[in-house]
Symmetry: C2
Subunit: 221 residues, 2 copies
């Protein structure tokens, strides 16, 4: 294993539940009631895909203007909650843990730069070998393309990289790219949901993962 690709929301930063409420409020503002759990299980897709998935699941028949409006409303609802988002235990130590081991690393998020800029600073993303945000890729997770792109930037074959994420969409993207999928429980998916979506291992949080890197084939420094 030569490189690690990290998801951000729900994996490094505790933002999933705020995103759930921001989306639920965005839909409610358009007069559409969506159960929170249905949103929760679609967090980690990019916003356009999340809207399209809920549109299909609940036969909403949204037009392009309504979809754009929902994205705007979500951004408005989420913005005031940004300041309460905290990193998970261990998320601030990714760089200092991986650098001595010679492991290259990247962050691949479906989030917008407006929502993730402060979090990227907090996880020392300036020390990452690649950072891909929602703006960078026409095709976002659960497609494998952004993972493949990150691996290209890291100059590793995707087969020599592991994707660390909290959502089944991370596992799906990892599989499509040909990387090893590693789950963390911090986004609210269960161990079984992640395992049955292809996670090779599931850890409680990023802190536990960083203490067990040898379990995925990273050699101790």
């Amino acid at each position: 294993m030569k490189a690690l690709v990290f998801d951000l929301d729900g994996t490094l930063a505790d933002s999933t539940y705020q995103h759930v409420l921001a989306w639920q409020r965005a839909f409610a503002g358009a007069g559409i009631i969506v159960p929170a759990v249905e949103i929760h299980r679609r967090i980690g897709m990019d916003g356009n895909l999340l809207i399209a998935a809920l549109d299909r699941a609940f036969s909403l028949g949204l037009d392009a203007a309504q979809r754009a409006n929902l994205k705007t409303r979500h951004a408005e609802q989420f913005a005031p909650m940004r300041r309460e988002i905290r990193l998970f235990c261990g998320a601030g130590r990714v760089a200092e843990t991986l650098e001595p081991l010679g492991i290259r690393w990247a962050i691949v998020t479906s989030g917008t730069m407006a929502d993730v800029a402060a979090l990227l600073d907090a996880v020392h993303a300036d020390r990452a070998d690649a950072v891909i945000t929602g703006e960078d890729e026409a095709e976002s997770k659960p497609a494998g393309h952004p993972i493949a792109r990150a691996c290209a930037k890291l100059r590793v074959n995707a087969h020599d990289a592991a994707v660390v994420g909290d959502a089944v969409w991370d596992m799906l993207a990892s599989r499509e790219a040909g990387s090893l999928g590693i789950g963390v429980l911090t986004g609210g998916y269960s161990r079984e949901e992640l395992s049955s979506s292809g996670a090779f291992r599931v850890y409680r949080d990023i802190a536990e993962f960083l203490t067990r890197l040898e379990e995925i084939g990273v050699q101790a420094g």
Copy 2:
């Protein structure tokens, strides 16, 4: 099967995610960072037990004054979110579905009357045969006592009743009381988490459950 005992938050009403943020903000206000998922998986216990469980899990060493303060802060944080809580599909039809079948029903919630009063109105709890709130029982779920008390009020043996809930705590309480546990996915627990906690069946939501009552031994009217 002669009677059904329903949980409220996460089962009839879509309030779990608001409670998660209200508790997280309550802890943050006391300078304590708790990951949202750790709160989520303890929702459905009453507030004192939730605080005690997190105190133990994170070795917080909270004293009585701090615990009381956290409960107060949670109530303050949750209050402004009450108005956005909606019932799940089907939750408003419990009374009209069960009455023609001769099935008695109760609601057993760990919530406080202040938080659940409007929701009880919305689910026509005045037509329920018993309603037990957090104030009514010294010993709340996951203990079986409030389930046993509801069954006594319904004048059924607990073995002839099913408990319908979204949390593993509902399944644990159901088991202790000797009732059949039935899970719904609307609180954000996974199918496997509920099944492995003893749920006999797991339904997507209360609406699906009400269309499949014969699967738990309720005879069609």
